[in-house]
Amino acid sequence: MKSRAPRLSARARRIRGGVHPPEHKHLTADRPIRRIDAPEVVILPMRQHAGAPCTPRVKRGDVVAVGTVVGDTEAFVSAPIHSSVSGTVQNVAPHPHPAGGEVLSVFVENDGEYRIDPEVHPLPWEDMGPEEIRKAVRASGMVGLGGAAFPTHVKLAPPEKYPIDTVILNGAECEPFLTADYRIMLEYAEEVVEGLRIIMKAVGAPRGIVAVEDNKPLALRRMAEVARGRDVEVLSLRTRYPQGAEKVLIANLLGREVPSGGLPMHVGVVVNNVGTARALAHYFRTGMPLVERVVTVTGSVVREPANLMVPLGTPFRAALDACGGFTEPPAKLIMGGPMMGLAQYTMEVPVVKGTSGILALSQKETEFEIPLEPVCIRCGRCVEVCPMNLVPTYLAAMAHKEKMEDLERLNVNDCIECGCCAYVCPTKNPLVQLIKAGKAELARRKVLFERRAQEAANRGSGKEGGDGGQ
C-alpha cells in the first residue's frame, strides 16, 4: 500500500455470523471525555492483565508518586502496575476484583499533590530501535485496553519465524453501550495514529490499518483526516457484533483465518485496540506509564452517562458518583459491555486496566424469561450467528452432559465466547454459558490428567531406576 489517500470503503468481505443487538450508544456518544479526580484511596490489584500476577514492590507506609511501580514480576507474560496518585501506601491486602474473586491489592492514600515519579520522562520513539521500544512498552505496564488486557509488549515481540506484515488498530467497538474508543478516535486521533506507527515500527510491519464500524461515521472521517499522507489506511467495517473480535476482524479485513488454536501473528498480523495505541503514544510523549484510562459509564439508570478519564484504582462507586449516581437502584452492574461484560456484586471494585465500561442495568432490562425446561428446537439460529462456524447447540448439550471427548471433537476450544448464540436463541437456552463451563472443565481435566501421568511416570522411574515404566 503506497501513500495513497486513505480508503473509506471496507473491502467488506463479510463472513457469516454475528448479530446486531440494539446499540444504546446514543447515551454517551456525544459526551466528550471528562477527567475525574482520583478518590482519597486508590486500590491497585496485583492482577490487571492476562498472565502472571504481579507481586507488590511496596509495603505499608511507603511513599509513592504518580507513575511509581507498586507491583511487578519477572514473568514475561505480565505487566508492571504503577500508582495513579501520589501519597502513602496505606495497606496491602486482598480486595474484591472486577474479574471475580479477591486479589492482593495495594491501597494508596491520595495526598492530592499528584507529584510525578522522577523516573518519568519522554521517550523519543523515532530514535529508538524495536527492542528498545518493546522494553519501554513493558515498563509502561501497557496492556490491551479493549478489555482482554493482554500485555502489549508480548504482542510486540512475535518470534522471528512469524514476520508481521500488517498492524490492525481495532476501533470496531462492537459491544453495545460502549463509546470510549469512539471518543478516543474523535478526540485523540493524532495520538491513535502515532501509536499505530510505534507498533508498526516495533514489529517491523509495513502496513497499518485503522478499522472502524460504519455506525461511527464521524470517527471514520476524523481518523481518515489524520491518517492522510501517513501510510495508514482507515477502513470501515459493517456494524455487526462481534466485528471487534480479533479473529473475526482479521478475516473480514484481510481474508485471513487465524488457525484454530493460533494467534494473529500466525497469519502475520498484530491487532491492538485504538485506546491502547492512544495510550502508547501518550506514554512515549510524556513518559507517564499506564495510570489512567477512558471508561464509558452508562446505562439507563445512570443519571448522567459519560465517558470518563479515570485514574486506575478508582472504585466503581466513585466513577458512578461522578456521573450523578443512579435514578433508580441498578439491578445489575457490569464491567464492560452487555455481551461479554462481567456482572459485579459490589460497587467497591476498582477500575482496572481492562475496564472499558461500567454499565448499570435496570430491573426491567435484567429480566428475561428463563425456561424451566431449556430445550433446543433446532431452529439453527445459533449455527447461523456463530462467527467461528461452530454448532453451539451441540456444544452446549455435550457440555451439559459432560461429554468431554465430544466437546473436543466439536472444536469447543475454537469458541471465542462472544455470546451470539445465547443472545439469539429463541428458547433462551444458556448456550455460551454452558460452553464456557465445558471449556473450563475440559482444561481442568487435561491438567489433572497430565499431572497424574507425570506422577505415574515419576513413580515408575523411581521404582525401575529411570526406565520410565512399562
Binding site: 448479530v19 443487538p21 440494539p22 453495545p176 479473529k247 478475516a251 485471513r256 483465518e257 487465524v258 488457525p259 484454530s260 488454536g261 493460533g262 497469519v267 437502584p329 441498578p330 439491578a331 445489575k332 452492574l333 457490569i334 452487555p338 455481551m339 461479554m340 462481567l342 456482572a343 459485579q344 456484586y345 459490589t346 460497587m347 467497591e348 442495568l361 435484567t366 428475561f368 424451566l372 425446561e373 430445550v375 433446543c376 428446537i377 433446532r378 431452529c379 439453527g380 449455527v383 456463530c386 462467527p387 462456524n389 461452530l390 454448532v391 472444536n411 475454537d414 455470546g419 445465547a422 443472545y423 439469539v424 436463541c425 429463541p426 428458547t427 444458556p430 455460551v432 454459558q433 464456557k436
Partner: protein, 314 residues
C-alpha cells in the same frame, strides 16, 4: 461491603426478542390467508375441522404434559400450529374420529413420546395426516368444490387436481385457478397464492429462510419437466406449496446447516415428483417430507459448518 442486591449472571446480559412463542404466532399469522380462503370455500365444514383439530391437538398436548409431569407448554403455540396444519391437510368432509386419531398420533406419539417439542424426528402434523391417510381410507370421501351455498354442502365428487397428473391434463384446472381458487382435495387446496402470501411473510419475519422452499419448488419444477410432465402444474397443484413453506421448514425436523437444507430440499423434491408420477396421486408431499425428515440426523452429521481457521492451519 454492601451487597446492594446486585444480580450476578454470566454474560451475555442482553437477549434478542426472538422467542418460540413469537415465531409460532408468526406461523399462525402466516396461515391466516389460507385459513380464511378455506373458510370461505368450505364454510362451516372447514370451521368444524379446524376447531376439532386445533382443540384436540391442544388437549392432547396438555394431557400428555400433565401425565409426564412436565411444564404445560401450550403458551408456545406449537400445539395450535400442529392442529391448524393438520386441519388444513384434511378434506372438508371427513369423520371427526379420523381427526381425533390424527391429532393424537401427531401430538402424543410423534411429539411428546419422543421427548416433546424439539426432540421429534418427524413433522407431527404430517405424520398424523399420513397415519389416517393410510389407516382409515378416508380418501374415498375426498370431495371437491362445496361452495358457499348450503345446497353444495353435500359435496360433489370430483377428481382432485393431482389426479390429472396421473391421468392426463385434459380438463384440469388452469394455472390461474390453481393459484387463486380451485377447490379439490384438502381444505388448504383453495389457491396456493394465499400460501405464498403466508410464506413470504415468514421469510420477511425471518422465521424461515428461503433455502428449503425454493430448493423443493425448483427441484419439482425441473424434474417434472425432465420426466415429461408439466412442471408449473406440479408446483401449483396439491399440497406442495403448503408443504414447502410450512412443513418442510419446520425448525425441529429440518437440517440446521445451509447445505444440509439444500440436500433436504432436493430429496423432498425428487420424492414428490417420483411418487406423483409413479405412485399414488395423494399424499406425495406428505410422504416426501417425512422421508426427508428421516434424513435430517444424517444431513446434520454430514454437512457441518466449515471450521474457522481450518484451511490455513497447516
Amino acid at each position: 461491603m454492601a451487597l446492594n442486591n446486585l444480580i450476578v449472571t454470566p454474560p451475555p446480559h442482553l437477549k434478542s426478542k426472538e422467542q418460540t412463542a413469537i415465531a409460532m404466532r408468526d406461523v399462525l399469522i402466516a396461515l391466516a390467508p389460507i385459513t380464511i380462503a378455506a373458510l370461505v370455500a368450505f364454510t362451516y365444514n372447514a370451521l368444524f375441522n379446524i376447531v376439532v383439530c386445533v382443540g384436540s391437538a391442544m388437549f392432547f398436548e396438555w394431557a400428555a404434559r400433565k401425565i409426564r409431569k412436565k411444564q404445560v407448554t401450550l403458551k408456545d403455540g406449537s400445539a395450535a400450529v400442529t392442529g391448524l396444519l393438520l386441519a388444513l391437510l384434511l378434506p372438508a368432509k371427513i369423520h371427526w374420529l379420523n381427526m381425533i386419531i390424527a391429532s393424537f398420533v401427531a401430538v402424543v406419539i410423534v411429539k411428546e413420546l419422543m421427548g416433546g417439542l424439539g426432540r421429534n424426528i418427524f413433522n407431527p402434523a404430517l405424520f398424523g395426516f399420513v397415519f389416517i391417510l393410510i389407516g382409515s381410507g378416508f380418501l374415498a370421501s375426498w370431495t371437491g368444490h362445496l361452495g358457499f351455498l348450503p345446497a353444495g354442502f353435500d359435496g360433489v365428487q370430483t377428481a382432485t387436481p393431482l389426479a390429472y397428473i396421473k391421468h392426463g391434463l385434459d380438463g384440469a384446472p388452469s394455472y390461474a385457478a390453481l393459484l387463486f381458487a380451485n377447490y379439490g382435495g384438502a381444505i388448504s387446496e383453495v389457491g396456493c397464492f394465499w400460501i405464498l402470501l403466508g410464506g413470504a411473510y415468514l421469510i420477511y419475519r425471518k422465521v424461515i429462510n428461503w433455502v428449503i422452499p425454493v430448493t423443493i419448488l425448483a427441484t419439482v419444477f425441473i424434474l417434472a419437466y425432465i420426466l415429461g410432465s408439466d412442471g408449473l402444474y406440479h408446483i401449483l397443484a396439491g399440497g406442495l406449496m403448503l408443504g414447502a413453506f410450512f412443513m418442510a421448514t419446520d425448525w425441529v425436523t429440518s437440517p440446521m446447516n445451509r447445505w444440509g437444507q439444500v440436500v433436504f430440499g432436493l430429496i423432498i423434491g425428487i420424492c414428490v415428483v417420483l411418487i406423483r408420477l409413479y405412485g399414488g396421486p395423494s399424499g406425495a408431499v406428505a410422504y416426501s417430507i417425512l422421508i426427508g425428515n428421516a434424513f435430517v440426523p444424517l444431513l446434520d452429521r454430514v454437512f457441518k459448518p466449515k471450521r474457522f481457521g481450518e484451511v490455513v492451519a497447516a
